[in-house]
C-alpha cells in the first residue's frame, strides 16, 4: 500500500500557511460585509432594456469606449405586432417566433449581441397555466433534445452554450438562454429553432428522463444592432517565444471578442481525426489558451476569460487568432472597468 501512503503524503503537504489563512479570513469578512445578493433572474424585457441602455451609450459614443449621458439615448421598450423583427435600442425581438405542441409553447423572445456573438432568450410556457415542471425538478437538471436551440446557419466556425433560468419552478414558465459565437459575422440571417422534448438529467441512473414530450420547430429573423465597443489595435506583448499583436478587442454587455496575430506560424501535426494529439494540444495552448484575457468590473471582480473558445489559422508565416464568446451574464457597460489581453490593459471609462 505504498502508493496509498504516498498519495496521502502528497495531499497532506497541500496546505495554506498560517499567514495565508489569516489573509483568507480577513478577505472573507470584507467580502461578506460588502456582499449583495445576486439572484439569477429570468432575462425579462426590462432587464435586457437596462443592459441595452448602456450598450447604446457605448456604441453611440464611438469606438473609444467613452460613454455618454443615459438620458440622451433612452427609449422605452414596447412589444410589437409588425410582421418583421423589431430592432429597438440594439435588442432584436423576433415576432411570431414560436411553436406549440402538447400544450407547451416555446418562443424566441429576444436577441442581443455584437457582430460575432449573440445571446438568444427562449421562453417555455404551459398554455393552461399549470406548473410546467414536476415538483422537485429545477433548472440545473434540465436539457432539451433535438437541435435544442437555434441553428443560425453559420458559414464558418462557431461555438456556444445554453442554460436554463427558472426563478419559480412551480409556475408555468421557464427560460432558456442560448449563446452563439462565430468567426464570421452572423447578424441578418434566418435561424431555425428546433426542440425535441424537455428532459431532466437523473444522476443516479445516468439517463435523461422526459419532463415534457413534444416537438417544436420555427424560424425567425436574426436582426439586432451590434452593441459592442471596439478597442485597441496594434499593441504588442511577448510570451512563449512569440510576439503577439492585438488587432482588435470588442466588448459588449454580452460578449468579448479578441483578435490578435502571432509572429510565427502554427505547426499542426498530421494526426488522424479523433483525439487531439499532445503536440497539437501544446500548439493550441501556446497560441490560444495561454493568452490571458481578463474582464475587470468596476467593483473589482475579475472574470477570467482565458479559457474561452476561439479559432486560429496559419497565414504566411503568422497565425491569426480569435478568442472570446458570450458572457454568462449580461454586464452593463458602466459596470465594466476594462479588459486586459496578455497584460495590455484597455480601460472603459465614463465621461
Amino acid at each position: 500500500m505504498n502508493d496509498l501512503f504516498e498519495y496521502k503524503q502528497e495531499l497532506d503537504a497541500l496546505r495554506f500557511t498560517p499567514e495565508q489563512k489569516t489573509q483568507l479570513a480577513a478577505a472573507t469578512v470584507a467580502a461578506a460585509q460588502k456582499q449583495t445578493r445576486r439572484v439569477r433572474r429570468p432575462i425579462g424585457r426590462t432587464v435586457l432594456a437596462a443592459a441595452c441602455i448602456t450598450a447604446v451609450l457605448a456604441v453611440s459614443a464611438g469606438a473609444s469606449g467613452v460613454l455618454k449621458n443615459a438620458a440622451e439615448v433612452f427609449a422605452p421598450i414596447f412589444g410589437g405586432t409588425a410582421a418583421q423583427t423589431e430592432v429597438i435600442d440594439k435588442i432584436g425581438y423576433p415576432i411570431g417566433a414560436s411553436a406549440t405542441d402538447n400544450g407547451v409553447t416555446i418562443s424566441a423572445d429576444a436577441i442581443m449581441g455584437d457582430e460575432y456573438n449573440a445571446a438568444i432568450v427562449f421562453t417555455f410556457t404551459r398554455d393552461d397555466g399549470t406548473a410546467l415542471l414536476p415538483e422537485g425538478v429545477e433548472d440545473p437538471m434540465l436539457l432539451v433534445g433535438g437541435t435544442g436551440g437555434a441553428d443560425l446557419r453559420v458559414l464558418g466556425g462557431s461555438h456556444g452554450s445554453s442554460w436554463f433560468v427558472d426563478e419559480d419552478p412551480t409556475d408555468d414558465t421557464l427560460q432558456m438562454i442560448q449563446t452563439v459565437s462565430t468567426d464570421v459575422p452572423l447578424n441578418d440571417c434566418t435561424a431555425t429553432a428546433e426542440f425535441d422534448g424537455l428532459y431532466r438529467w437523473d444522476a443516479a441512473s445516468g439517463e435523461r428522463i422526459p419532463v415534457v414530450e413534444g416537438r417544436w420547430k420555427f424560424k425567425f429573423d436574426v436582426a439586432y444592432e451590434d452593441s459592442s465597443v471596439t478597442l485597441g489595435g496594434g499593441e504588442t506583448f511577448a510570451q512563449d517565444g512569440m510576439t503577439f499583436t492585438i488587432d482588435e478587442v470588442r466588448v459588449s454587455p454580452v460578449a468579448v471578442r479578441v483578435a490578435y496575430t502571432a509572429d510565427s506560424e502554427v505547426q499542426w501535426s498530421d494526426a488522424p481525426s479523433g483525439r487531439q494529439s499532445d503536440a497539437d494540444a501544446r500548439e493550441m495552448q501556446r497560441y490560444l489558451e495561454n493568452v490571458e484575457v481578463l474582464l475587470t468590473r468596476t467593483d473589482g471582480t475579475v472574470i477570467d476569460l482565458s479559457g474561452t473558445g476561439g479559432s486560429m489559422k496559419p497565414d504566411h508565416g503568422t497565425t491569426v487568432c480569435v478568442k472570446g464568446g458570450v458572457l454568462d451574464e449580461i454586464i452593463p457597460m458602466e459596470e465594466i472597468a476594462g479588459i486586459s489581453v496578455g497584460g495590455i490593459l484597455y480601460p472603459i471609462s465614463a465621461e
Binding site: L4, Q23, V29, A204, I303, L305
Partner: protein
C-alpha cells in the same frame, strides 16, 4: 463568536480540506482561494446550526464540491481576488506512475469519491450525502475508479472493506 472570529475559525479548520478537495476536482491550486471564499462568505452571511462538528465538516465539503462542480461546468472563471493578491500554493508533483498522477487521470466525479474515501476516510453513505448522490452511485464510482486505477498502475490492490 463575531464575524472575524467565525471567519478565522473557518479558515483554520477547513481551508486546507477545501484546498485538497478543489485540487482533486480542478487539478490545480489556483482556484482554491476562490472556492474557500465562496464557501466561507456563504457561511458568514447565511449562518446555520449544525448537529455536530462532523455534520459541519460534511456540509462545508459539500458546499466546496458544489463550487468546484460549478467551476468545471462554466468556461468562465471568475476570480474573487485581484491578480496581485491571489495566494499561491504549490501543487503536488504527481510524478509519472504515482497514485496521485493516476487519480488525476480519472474523471472528476471518480477523483472526488476516491479522495473522500481514501484520504478523508468517509464511508460510501457519507460520501453520497456530501456529493448529493445516492450511496449506490458512490459504490459504482468507487468500483469503476479502482478498476481504472488498477489498469493505470498495473494491478496494485486498493481494496478496503466498506
Amino acid at each position: 463568536m463575531d464575524q472575524t472570529q467565525w471567519a478565522e475559525y473557518l479558515a483554520e479548520t477547513y481551508a486546507d480540506a477545501i484546498l485538497r478537495l478543489s485540487y482533486t476536482y480542478l487539478k490545480n491550486t489556483h482556484d482554491a482561494q476562490d472556492i474557500c471564499q465562496t464557501v466561507f462568505v456563504k457561511l458568514l452571511t447565511e449562518p446555520r446550526e449544525f448537529e455536530s462538528r462532523e455534520h459541519e465538516r460534511a456540509y462545508v465539503l459539500r458546499m466546496a464540491a458544489n463550487a468546484c462542480k460549478d467551476l468545471l461546468k462554466s468556461p468562465w472563471r471568475k476570480r474573487t481576488c485581484g491578480l496581485e493578491s491571489c495566494m499561491e500554493v504549490p501543487a503536488p508533483e504527481a510524478a509519472d506512475g504515482s497514485l496521485l498522477a493516476a487519480v488525476n487521470d480519472l474523471p472528476p466525479h471518480y477523483r472526488a469519491v476516491i479522495y473522500l474515501y481514501y484520504y478523508e476516510g468517509y464511508q460510501a453513505a457519507e460520501i453520497g450525502a456530501i456529493l448529493g448522490v445516492p450511496t449506490a452511485t458512490v459504490h459504482t464510482r468507487l468500483v469503476r475508479g479502482r478498476a481504472r486505477l488498477r489498469e493505470l498502475l498495473g494491478g496494485a490492490d486498493y481494496e478496503r472493506s466498506v
